[in-house]
């Protein structure tokens, strides 16, 4: 029984996708499996691939019309799925004799069998099947839906690659639905942008869903630049209100007296809407520590821009970005003073974290997170009190850092440029740009990831940070609570 769903997106890194679809030849059928996690937003489902397991030549029995992995290989696959706690298995296979492949009864049987075996490990496991036509010209995919004891296949729309080359839709499914270049009308205010990035680039910027976490001096500068660059779908996220000390660095403020006391995020969103009424600019006035709201916002975005002051919210955003496979750009700046309160150093930093990409490790692996600060921020009041009474040292509250608008603008300019060239597919972003404003020196740094890191690592132990909280336990828990 067939039913088309709104959208199903399988999200790979570039390396994972190449591994999954690198076929030996197109004479015999071939197969590969990938394990990952699934989550759902507004009716569309995303499968986030964690690891690809391709059978070796001795682990597979192949013919022109049939492909059969050995029981030993399947046991290895089940073990891997169990070790990762994976909620989804994606089976890719080829139809070498057809350019426009479709699923056969044999494929149905394979999906049922895989589901039957895997549900012994995880009762809520889902099976996604992808079939590739000759020379990878076309692909079709579907998901096995077994709700209410009924087996049904829902057909998918696209495969997404999120990596250093930007966000790419897998050809053969998505390309046909894109409008022709000539059909795209570039607004007059973006005409010069189109000359720089091309019409397709402008279109990519229109479609990209950006989430800006933190809309202070730096976040508002980012929002200002991105909205002028032609990003039409921006969500700004902040729980704070504008204070008198903010207004001189806050973009969009024209009348400081009326701005003070209003939510920063709402104010920025309103400013962007005034500039471009066609854009979808949304504000979320919530704390990043409000898990459900933050997770929902990150799920619905394509990329996260982080412009927050402290490491604790950075950690939370980074963990959520890793969980949902979203690239994250951390923009920060700092002014250091010496004992005489004179400026000793001024720095701007733009770091990229792309989940599942080795060259773009998380901020903690890059040394960008102060664990002690995070620890202090996350410590409960009760524990702080206990430690204080027992004589253990507890940190003292810090005074606000020095901030000036030119440094915010410099940081926002660098980050906005990197984001734009990435979104337009012009080049891969620099993993870490470090700009020393006192010595006028630019450095491009490359951090290395820890394989056991629970955010960006590749070892089996590191998978513990992955997985959708809602999927893993949300609905089930609610039922338990009710009962």
């Amino acid at each position: 029984m067939k039913k088309t769903i709104l959208q199903l997106c399988v999200s790979y890194s570039a390396a994972q996708f190449a591994q999954a679809t690198q076929w030996t030849d197109w004479v015999l059928e071939d197969v590969s499996y990938a394990v990952g996690f699934a989550y759902q937003v507004n009716g569309s489902k995303t499968v986030l691939i964690r690891e690809v397991l391709k059978p070796g030549t001795t682990e597979i029995d192949r013919s022109r019309y049939r492909v059969e992995p050995s029981p030993e290989y399947l046991c290895r696959l089940y073990d891997k799925a169990q070790a990762l706690g994976a909620s989804c298995v994606v089976q890719h296979h080829t139809h070498p004799f057809s350019k426009h492949p479709d699923f056969s009864g044999i494929d149905d049987e394979a999906a049922y069998r895989l589901h039957h075996d895997l549900r012994q490990i995880n009762p809520r496991v889902e099976i996604v099947q992808v079939v590739h036509g000759r020379d990878n010209h076309h692909a079709k995919a579907r998901i096995l839906n077994t709700t209410n004891g009924e087996n049904r296949f829902d057909y998918f729309e696209d495969i997404t690659l999120t990596g250093p080359a930007g966000i790419q839709k897998y050809p053969g499914t998505q390309t046909a639905s894109l409008p022709a270049c000539d059909a795209i009308k570039v607004p007059a205010q973006e005409e010069r942008n189109a000359r720089a990035f091309g019409v397709n680039g402008v279109e990519a910027l229109h479609d990209l869903r950006v989430l800006i976490l933190g809309t202070g001096g730096l976040g508002s500068a980012m929002a200002y630049q991105l909205s002028r660059l032609g990003f039409w779908r921006i969500t700004v996220y902040d729980c704070q209100r504008i204070e008198a000390t903010n207004v001189n660095r806050f973009y969009f403020v024209t009348k400081p007296r009326t701005a003070i006391g209003r939510f920063k995020a709402s104010y920025v969103a309103r400013g962007m809407r005034l500039f471009n009424p066609a854009g979808k600019y949304r504000a979320i006035n919530a704390s990043i520590f409000d898990e459900r709201v933050a997770a929902g916002a990150i799920k619905e975005s394509d990329i996260v821009v982080m412009a927050v002051d402290h490491d604790a919210p950075r950690c939370v955003a980074m963990a959520l970005a890793a969980r949902y496979g979203k690239p994250l750009v951390n923009v920060s700046n700092a002014i250091y003073l010496d004992e005489l309160q004179k400026i000793k150093g001024a720095f701007v930093s733009c770091q990229w974290f792309i989940p599942r990409e080795d060259n773009y490790p998380c901020l903690r692996c890059q040394g960008g997170i102060n664990d002690k600060e995070v620890e202090a921020a996350f410590m409960s009041e009760r524990l702080k009190r206990l430690r204080q009474k027992a004589g253990y040292v507890v940190g003292t509250p810090e005074s606000p850092n020095a901030q000036v608008i030119p440094i915010n603008s410099a940081a926002a300019g660098i980050a906005a440029w990197e984001l734009t060239v990435w979104a337009c597919g012009i080049r891969s972003p620099s993993p870490w740009i470090h700009y020393d404003l006192m010595n006028n020196s630019f450095q491009v740094l490359q951090g290395s990831g820890d394989p056991d890191c629970t955010v960006c690592g590749s070892s089996p132990a590191s998978c513990l940070a992955t997985g959708d909280a809602d999927f893993v336990g949300g609905p089930k828990n609610k039922k338990e609570e009710k009962s």
């Binding site: 002690k372 620890e375 996350f378 409960s380 206990l386 513990l464 997985g467 336990g473």
Partner: protein
């Protein structure tokens, strides 16, 4: 924001190790109680104890730092006398339901999590004199 995925896997591992009935946790996993945690009878006044571990709201970004053990648990020194636990704070103001707070921390920067914390706790209870020496003047 707890990493429930990780927490569930770790609680399962603990239940396999100590028994399903011995490792108790509420549906939101805000705390974990390990009953009958084995102790060396020659070194403690009890042969086993109950351990209450409070899971921080932002686990695993936040490390586990809040842990309670039986209020009556005492260490037996070389002369056979009962002593307070090193790093243990059993004063009345800290007691919750008959427990004493044990100031015991997972090392900073590591990714050991709940399993690592319990393993370190086990090492701590296995060789208490090591910690006593550090604590003694």
């Amino acid at each position: 924001m707890k990493n429930m995925h990780r927490l569930r896997m770790e609680i399962n591992a603990l239940q396999n190790r100590y028994g399903r009935a011995q490792v108790v946790t509420p549906s939101d996993s805000s705390w974990i109680k390990i009953c009958g945690f084995p102790l060396n009878p020659g070194q403690y006044n009890l042969s086993n104890c109950t351990i209450l571990i409070i899971i921080p709201d932002h686990y695993d970004l936040a490390k586990i730092r809040e842990c309670y053990v039986d209020h009556d648990l005492r260490l037996i020194d070389n002369r056979g006398r009962y002593r307070e636990l090193p790093h243990g704070h059993g004063w009345a103001e800290y007691e919750i339901d008959g427990y004493q707070w044990l100031c015991f921390e997972e090392p900073l920067g590591s990714n050991t999590g709940l399993i690592g914390f319990v393993s370190t706790l086990r090492a701590y209870f296995t060789d208490p004199h090591k910690y006593v020496e550090v604590n003694e003047e």
